[in-house]
């Protein structure tokens, strides 16, 4: 085929506040290629896919499609150039039928005008699925009635449908297409890719390394938003890729490892026995003892985030039991956990933690209003509230002119400190942290690590579930590794013998 690249991306950078998601990344995809993107959580894979599909507008960089300059940050225009994307969060309209979804927004262009359009679209969709060997989906089904993998296949069919409607040498971006598919469905997908790859370029992103290795012709390794290396997929070992993905050494200072207390042997505060949530995790045994930091590692979708939520009462267990001080707790929920001192910092700050239009003060005191009540009147002592909130804000160094400011005006780091301050105002026995440093600048991270160490030293048990492997290894006394919903390994992470990221990653993938 022609020697010009289908897509050429040069010098792309993107920052979200203080966080650099992509730094000077360049890549090219040639016709007939399947480019596999690999990297840890937060390495920049999703942002890169976003740039390619136009949903993310980069701060710098250029993109050429078939040798022509392409408009960045314009999904419709890029789509018209033949780039389509199959994402994890599905972009199908639930209430429409399969064939309607496939040709959504292009009915006129594809089906022509006139009364017979519906019939023509149906016939085309039927032919399309037949060509793609997708046999178990009726084109007239309403999407909401389909299973998740079936919808994934519809998405894929939708992307393929564009290859037949005009655009030359199209590109299909597959963002984690296999994580929800069964083995046979993965086979169908890989067959499709194999069969079409001469006329279609693919970019394939997955946490499942073996899938990437199986289907890609070339690999691009991302780390901390940088393109580390591209290499042809010939005789590459998983071990080697792990090393490329992980890169440099951890800094012991950063995580205050000198202050690490070490694993505890006291009686656990919270235990899980055979715990499971359908579709998330199963058969998990876990104990959190006073003063220790238990890390949970795993790729997105491994069930680790749900596990943390379940310990905190934010999600209900379907199977197994949760014991508090050795006694089983029925119908465990956050409202029960908080008075017991089991406190939760959820992952999505804006969504899960903040009352953005409300004052910083009210955002802090919501954690301990019950403790501010006067014994006589049962009313909240407003002066005490101001005093406590001000003390906590000062101790955590929340930078603001006034605690009456709506918390939405603060930076992400200061917002997260306010969330920690909320729980500093009441007795705590177990702190459950679900990705506590997401989207937070380096300086504030360090402060938060210091705070976590301090809390552990005072006898609080910490469950730390985080996307950053470095963080989990640096902070934890021991690490539970999750893979496909089960605990695949439990590693010691004492100050003297920290496991390497490669040690951990090999149990994750």
């Amino acid at each position: 085929m022609s020697s010009t690249s289908t897509i050429e991306l040069t010098g792309v950078s993107k920052a979200y506040g203080p966080v650099h998601a992509l730094r000077d990344v360049s890549l090219e995809v040639r016709p007939g290629e399947v480019l596999g993107l690999i990297g840890e959580n937060g390495a920049g894979k999703s942002t890169l896919i976003g740039v390619l599909s136009g949903t993310v507008r980069p701060d710098a960089g250029t993109m050429r499609v078939h040798g022509q300059a392409a408009p960045l940050g314009d999904p419709r225009a890029l789509n018209a150039l033949g780039i389509s994307v199959v994402v994890q969060e599905q972009a199908l309209v639930d209430s429409l039928r399969v064939y309607e979804n496939i040709y959504l927004g292009r009915e006129g262009a594809v089906g022509g005008r006139g009364p017979g359009r519906r019939g023509r679209l149906r016939a085309m969709a039927r032919q399309l699925l037949e060509d793609l060997h997708i046999t178990d989906i009726d084109i007239n089904s309403v999407v909401v009635d389909l299973s998740y993998p079936q919808r994934q296949l519809v998405e894929i069919a939708k992307a393929f449908s564009r290859t037949r409607t005009g655009a030359k040498a199209p590109v299909i971006l597959l963002d984690e297409p296999t994580s929800a598919l069964s083995e046979t469905e993965v086979e169908i997908l890989f067959d499709l890719v194999e069969r079409w790859k001469d006329s279609v370029s693919f970019i394939f992103v997955s946490h499942i390394l073996q899938d990437v290795l199986k289907i890609s012709t070339r690999l691009l390794v991302l780390r901390d938003g940088r393109a580390i290396q591209t290499l042809p997929n010939v005789g590459v070992s998983a071990e080697h890729l792990h090393e490329l993905m992980v890169g440099t050494e951890r800094s012991a200072d950063y995580y205050r490892e000198d202050e690490q207390g070490g694993a505890s042997s006291e009686a656990p505060v919270i235990e899980l026995h055979g715990a499971g949530i359908l579709g998330e995790f199963r058969d998990v045994d876990l104990a959190i003892r006073p003063g220790e930091i238990v890390g949970v590692a795993g790729v997105i979708g491994s069930g680790k985030s749900s596990l943390a939520a379940a310990v905190a009462g934010a999600e209900r267990l379907h199977t197994g039991t949760l014991l508090l001080d050795g006694k089983p707790c029925m119908r465990w929920n956050v409202a029960k956990a908080v008075p017991e001192g089991v406190l939760y910092v959820p992952p999505e700050r804006a969504h899960d933690s903040l009352f953005t239009t409300t004052s910083i003060r009210a955002n802090i005191s919501i954690g301990f209003l019950d403790l501010l009540r006067s014994p006589w009147t049962r009313l909240i002592h407003l002066g005490e509230e101001r005093k406590r909130a001000a003390e906590l804000a000062q101790r955590l160094q929340i930078k603001t002119a006034s605690l009456s400011t709506p918390i939405g005006e603060l930076s992400g780091g200061n917002q997260q400190k306010a969330v920690f301050a909320r729980w500093q105002g009441r007795p705590c026995r177990v702190l459950v942290l679900n990705d506590p440093t997401r989207g937070i600048d380096v300086g504030t991270r360090e402060e938060i690590y210091g705070l976590i160490r301090h809390m552990a030293a005072s006898g609080i048990g910490v469950l730390l579930c985080a996307e950053s492997l470095e963080e989990v290894i640096g902070m934890s006394d021991r690490i539970i590794v999750m893979k496909d919903g089960v605990v695949s390994a439990e590693l010691s992470s004492s100050t003297a013998a920290k496991p390497t990221e490669v040690d951990v990653i090999k149990h994750m993938m």
């Binding site: 956990a337 899960d352 009352f355 239009t357 409300t358 009210a362 209003l369 160094q397 006034s402 930076s411």
Partner: protein, 338 residues
């Protein structure tokens, strides 16, 4: 006040991202909610006084207090529900039912017992609204719209569609007489209820939880707020307060009137929103509703005095509600306005 709250370590604030003038505007916004109705009150008084010199008089003060008493209490009932981000369209119909019931029961059961029973029925109606909204997850807008129709039906069945008279003089004493000279007791009740509601809103965990649920329901739940219990309590409370409004209405009218309080629904929502409680929830409070009610009552009694015809009054009030919502709605909270 703000001075003492400044953490000593950071004398100058870092400008928040995208802040600067925008942040200043946001701070002005907080005052806007008090300024707008206050300015409206002054402007309305000046305007109507210039039209008819009798607007500021002892007579119209009595009249305004009477109207205020009822409207404030109905609007208080609605305020709680709006604070949690829902809406109760059945408060006025609930007040009508309470007005009919008190007229029906007061002679048979005696004043105090009848009043307690009527308030209990109001709370029960609210609780039903709450149960359907929280447990069956039907939007409160629809549940209470249906409830409005149900209550209208019940009120008319009980009263056979006609006024219900009673002998007791208790309501006369309780609502229309004056303990404080020139202030009818009804108005006093409204002010006291507003004060209590304000204390509850700001100085009890329950009140704070209302704001939390209205501000971000998910975050409230993850902070340990019993979201469902709060919602149920709010709807029941709204029902009970609406019933008190109905008792005031019947006391003022001296008979139970079917459909009597129904027309106050739009006025009560206008009072809440003009006062500065946002329909999106989490912002505002009972104290603001008092001011909002004053604006609405001044507007309507002013239009009465200057003999604006009733149909034009309807048009004006509708326009005021829409304008007030347009001014106070927090558009960031809605992905899509439908």
């Amino acid at each position: 006040m703000t001075q003492t709250m400044t953490p000593p370590k950071s004398p100058t604030p870092p400008p928040p991202p995208g802040g600067g003038p925008r942040a200043t505007l946001a701070r002005l916004d907080q005052y806007r909610n008090v300024l707008v109705p206050t300015v409206a009150v002054i402007a309305l008084v000046i305007y109507f006084q210039s039209q008819t010199s009798s607007f500021v008089s002892a007579d119209s003060a009595q009249n305004i207090q009477r109207q205020m008493a009822f409207l404030t209490v109905v609007a208080l009932a609605g305020t709680f529900v709006i604070l949690i981000g829902g809406i109760d369209l059945s408060v006025a119909a609930n007040a009508t039912l309470a007005g009919i019931l008190i007229a029906t029961w007061i002679d048979d059961f005696g004043g105090p017992l009848a009043i307690a029973m009527v308030i209990a029925v109001g709370a029960l109606v609210g609780l039903v609204n709450g149960i359907i909204t929280t447990w069956l997850k039907v939007p409160s807008f629809l549940v209470t719209l249906g409830m409005m129709s149900i209550l209208n039906g019940i009120s008319n069945s009980i009263s056979d569609g006609g006024p219900v008279s009673y002998q007791s003089t208790l309501l006369q004493k309780l609502i229309n007489d004056s303990t404080i000279p020139n202030v009818p007791n009804g108005a006093l009740i409204a002010v006291v209820l507003t004060a209590i509601a304000t204390v509850v809103a700001f100085a009890t965990p329950f009140g704070r939880h209302l704001y939390a649920v209205g501000g971000n329901e998910r975050a409230a739940g993850l902070s340990g707020v019993r979201v469902r219990a709060v919602k149920l309590a709010v709807f029941a409370l709204a029902g009970a307060v609406a019933a008190i409004a109905g008792i005031i209405f019947t006391g003022q009218a001296s008979t139970g009137v079917p459909m009597g309080a129904d027309a106050s629904l739009l006025n009560s929502i206008a009072a809440i929103v003009v006062g500065g409680t946002a329909l999106s929830g989490g912002v505002g409070g009972p104290h603001r509703t008092l001011l909002g009610a004053l604006v609405i009552v001044l507007l309507s009694s002013g239009m009465d005095i200057t003999s604006v015809d009733p149909y034009t009054q309807l048009i004006v009030k509708g326009a005021v509600v829409i304008a007030a919502v347009a001014l106070t709605i927090d558009r960031r909270r809605y992905g899509m306005i439908k």
